[in-house]
Symmetry: C2
């Protein structure tokens, strides 16, 4: 393996007695393009390595949206949990059609590894998030307890969190949660477009490896999942999210509400105004497992 | 007086059991340009008219920054306080040099009424914030108790909050607070540029009407002010903010720390990561007076 790339710190902001740091490095998973991420380090890290919660953002977002608008940091500071905010896609790959629309390509990496040769050099957000970022951060000596990780996300990032958690054979993550996740992507327009674009065998391949509703049907071991969505979410109404499909598959697989909890919230929508309202619930949910 | 303009609601988002609504109307104070604002209405408004806290944002911002990143809404919801987020300048006036730089013109209205004829048709953010917005909102029947208002802001908006509060002869506002305010604008480059641009008699006119440090020297009645700033704030270090000047003038005028409290925070900077950390303190400070 080649030497790990150096992390360049682009900025640091003190917040809730901790630090929000923005880093850049040359990402081999993304075809040697520059990649950026934010990392919140709570004040507890001065005493000990802390657990890590990874937040995956949704379509059109960057590493900044969750850090700036998510309302996670106060609770993370109090609980002594670090939060990693990756970007949502490679930037500047120059791949076909990557800037033609907001729901495919730049800002829309779907947290998978592309197998279509037009995208497979750069669009490998799965490896970037689950393997490369932890390796690079560990090599940089950041104060993380790597045996304690969980993952959550919003919309496309909720899809990412659920699928990464459910597909993980290494049990890298202790728990997963999602706001308004794309829960059954092989049955919705966003997912079909992503799978047909990034994957050699299209929706069939996506259904096998990257569909939370499909993946949970194959699990039998203990799992810890929380999902929140709003009933006034326009994308929920357009059937892009399909959380009921996921819930049914979870119950059919034998998981009860202490293993897979799906909550709907009257009148809430898809925005960060919704996320921020329930943000501390999610951090507390993960703290149960990260600090067990 | 002409009939008040109609409010058009552009969007609504449920958040913390309340509503964040974005409105547009034709602003006569701003020369008949369209103006936008956000208004957070807490759930308590279903039972009674609620107090109003006005948040003035800083240079380059819009009505969205405080609403999205300020971290005010959770506490405002719990306390039953509405928050008004105005814009920071007129948009589309076409006045000279209004888009040449980020610290003058668009996004930089300085919460004054221009007397330089090149700007006086449009750049009247003082009237817009203190008179026009309350009139338009009241005419629209929004559930505000207009006898209970306070004001706060960040940077240029902290300057706005302090000067509006200190210059108010009508005692429209019960309390004022500021994050990293421009506290003595007639002695810093941002203030000098604004006053020389917007005001016929330049810095002398600004010093008389729009300088918090000058204004507090003339007050003797009970006042309620809280200021927070960070010692790692680059603009503080560049002497754009000068909070020590304001503090000295306040103490010289006989105000103690229960009347004018100025806190500095080690390592914090000028960003919303700083504001969000102390956001609930400010809402609680104003609640003391708004709910008295």
């Amino acid at each position: 393996m080649a030497a790990l790339p150096a992390l360049e710190r682009l900025s640091t902001n003190k917040t809730f007695e901790g630090e929000l740091n923005k880093y850049k490095f040359k990402s081999s998973a993304l075809g040697d393009l520059d990649a950026q991420f934010n990392l919140f380090i709570p004040p507890a890290a001065a005493q000990r390595n802390v657990p890590l919660l990874t937040y995956l953002a949704g379509l059109t977002c960057t590493e900044d949206n969750g850090a700036q608008k998510g309302n996670f940091l106060k609770t993370a500071s109090a609980e002594g949990i670090a939060i990693l905010f990756p970007d949502t896609s490679p930037r500047g790959a120059g791949a076909p059609h990557e800037t033609d629309s907001w729901d495919f390509g730049v800002g829309a990496g779907f947290y998978l590894n592309a197998t279509n040769p037009e995208y497979s050099k750069n669009y490998n957000m799965l490896t970037h998030v689950t393997t490369e970022l932890p390796q690079v951060m560990e090599a940089a000596g950041l104060p993380i307890d790597w045996s304690r990780q969980s993952i959550f996300g919003h919309s496309m990032g909720g899809h990412g969190a659920l699928t990464i958690y459910l597909a993980s054979e290494t049990k890298q993550y202790r728990s997963a949660s999602a706001f308004s996740p794309i829960s059954n992507p092989s049955k919705c327009p966003w997912g079909e477009k992503a799978f047909n674009g990034y994957l050699k065998n299209g929706v069939e391949e996506g259904k096998q490896f990257y569909d939370a509703t499909e993946l949970i049907s194959k699990r039998t071991d203990p799992i810890h999942i929380l999902i929140d969505y709003g009933t006034s979410d326009a994308f929920y109404k357009q059937e892009q999210l399909l959380p009921e499909n996921f819930l049914k598959a979870a119950r059919d697989a034998g998981y009860d509400e202490f293993q897979v909890r799906v909550r709907h919230h009257e009148g809430y929508d898809h925005s960060y105004y919704f996320i921020s309202t329930f943000a501390s619930d999610h951090v507390h949910f993960h703290a149960n497992f990260l600090k067990a």
